[in-house]
């Protein structure tokens, strides 16, 4: 099933043309890695799908962005922004748990979306923490502050927080770049498991990581989508010479 599709998307920050005519399709239950040098537009592209670019002043977007076939930027028949953000969860580069208890962090998305049923919230919190492989570490201290967790645990808490909303898509913006190697390995393992249920799009600067976790890889350069193919193809036999140069570490 086709989960996400962009057609001829142009994005401008004021006069700066940040995304140039991007058309791309992402299938459900796959992991797609977005790679490219800093400033190439990959994070901007990721933030199209939950409309986080809307928070920036002077941003202008043209073209169509479809999630589950529905135009998320369209007026009228489109998708409401809170509905979209429930469906498309996001994990940020730096772990950003709220200054609340572990339990309340995971329950937050449910509460702000109007869910009041206590039993249901408790069940969702437990399920989400199990899915993010954090449950065994925190089940006895759910009422403790999320700030008492380590960086890696905080990031898995943020993943649990996103999963509590039962999204279809999980956007990850360099989710392991602020973590140590062991925590990074745990996150990568988790991505592999979550693929069963979710469509995952991950921005990464780490070529090995893209190679390990993703099914497909898209290479961005100066706001353009240069090449988009299966990950083995991109890493072993890329069509474009710029892709070749980037994945072999000759620039970036």
């Amino acid at each position: 099933m086709r989960m996400i599709e962009t057609k001829n998307v142009q994005l401008y920050y004021g006069d700066f043309h940040a995304l140039k005519d991007i058309s791309m399709q992402i299938e459900s239950n796959t992991v797609t890695a977005l790679i490219g040098p800093s400033g190439c537009g990959k994070s901007t592209y990721l933030r199209l799908f939950n409309r986080m670019n809307d928070l920036i002043d002077n941003v202008r977007i043209e073209g169509d962005v479809l999630v589950e076939g529905r135009d998320i930027y369209g007026k009228g028949l489109g998708m409401r922004i809170d509905e979209l953000r429930k469906k498309v969860g996001m994990v940020f580069q730096k772990p950003n748990p709220f200054p609340k208890s572990i339990f309340e962090n995971v329950a937050y998305g449910l509460r702000v979306n109007g869910i009041k049923n206590k039993d249901y919230i408790e069940e969702r919190v437990e399920t989400s923490l199990k899915q993010s492989a954090l449950w065994n570490e925190v089940k006895d201290k759910l009422n403790k502050s999320a700030f008492e967790l380590s960086g890696g645990q905080q990031q898995r808490l943020c993943i649990a927080r996103a999963l509590a909303n039962e999204p279809s898509v999980l956007l990850m913006d360099e989710p392991a770049s602020a973590l140590d190697p062991i925590s990074t390995a745990k996150i990568e393992e988790l991505i592999y498991e979550l693929k069963e249920k979710y469509t995952i799009i991950i921005v990464t600067h780490n070529m090995q990581q893209a190679g390990r976790v993703s099914d497909k890889t898209a290479f961005f350069y100066l706001g353009e989508l240069i090449e988009y193919d299966t990950t083995p193809h991109i890493f072993t036999n890329p069509t474009d010479s710029r892709t070749q140069a980037y994945v072999t570490g000759r620039f970036g």
Binding site: N50, K86, G89, F92, P99
Partner: protein, 284 residues
């Protein structure tokens, strides 16, 4: 010269100036304490002035100051808080926002006697509140308003954007994000600022001069339309234009000491509340 020597010299210059600040504060406190502490007694705090304000206590002035501080905060805190939230969370970065910020800063720089005149013209005369707690509180509130706005703004600005993004990305609205994530994080700083504003307001004389302060009023107020005595004005009166300035010298230092103690206590309270809320904010 060796760069280590230069570093030592610079370090000592910084240290000496920091000590100067502390010494200055301690000097002022010592001056007030040494002259005022003999006057302080339970009776001084709880009785009315007597014998042309050369004896008795300052009870009405303490109560008056508390009324004015409370009244001004009832007015300035909600308006300042909401304005600060608007400026930092909602207003787009355009000329209008810059204009509001410029005006707020200008308002903070206006001499307090001008606030006093304005308060008299608007609240006492035009709105016909007369010399009253209401008029005085509103005038002091105007004075405190830019402080509260700026403190709120800065407290909100200090909240990392990643918290806002995290909340919005989960489907929360902007209002939910502000109420449930941003404000709790900013609360310790807002409270500190609020109490500093109270400290400022409680010591002001000029704004209450024409709007509320009574020269001598032995009874307590019964409504917001009554006049009251207030500590700073009382101090001014008995040190410059009392019935017998020499005889009321001790009373003046006692009053000054009470005023300084109130401000110091408020600052200590600000610190305690700040610590309490920054611990609590991690938890709730």
């Amino acid at each position: 010269m060796e760069k280590q020597t230069k570093q030592q010299i610079a370090f000592w210059i910084f240290r000496i100036f920091a000590w100067c600040v502390v010494a200055l504060l301690l000097g002022i406190l010592y001056f007030i304490f040494s002259r005022g502490w003999r006057t302080i007694s339970w009776e001084f705090l709880t009785s009315i002035p007597e014998d042309g304000m050369t004896k008795g206590g300052i009870y009405p002035a303490i109560i008056g100051t508390l009324c004015l501080v409370g009244g001004s905060m009832i007015f300035a805190f909600p308006i300042g808080l909401l304005a600060g939230i608007y400026i930092n969370e909602y207003a787009k970065d355009n000329w209008f926002k810059r204009f509001i910020k410029l005006m707020t800063n200008n308002l903070a720089g206006i001499p307090s006697i001008v606030f006093g005149l304005f308060g008299m013209a608007l609240f006492v005369k035009k709105l016909n509140f007369g010399d009253s707690i209401l008029a005085g509180s509103l005038t002091l509130g105007l004075l405190a308003l830019p402080v509260v706005i700026r403190v709120t703004e800065e407290a909100l600005l200090a909240v990392e954007n990643s918290f806002r993004q995290g909340s919005l990305a989960l489907g929360a609205t902007k209002l939910q994000t502000i109420r449930k994530v941003v404000l709790p994080i900013a609360t310790p700083n807002i409270i500190t600022g609020l109490i500093l504003a109270i400290g400022r307001v409680s010591g002001e004389t000029a704004p209450i001069l024409f709007t509320v302060a009574a020269y001598f009023l032995p009874q307590l107020p019964t409504s917001v339309f009554d006049q009251v005595m207030a500590l700073p004005y009382h101090l001014y009166v008995i040190s410059t234009s009392g019935t017998n300035i020499t005889a009321s010298r001790d009373m003046a230092y006692g009053t000054a000491l009470v005023l300084v103690m109130i401000v110091l206590l408020l600052n200590l309270l600000a610190n305690a509340l700040r610590r309490y809320f920054s611990n609590r904010v991690k938890m709730n």
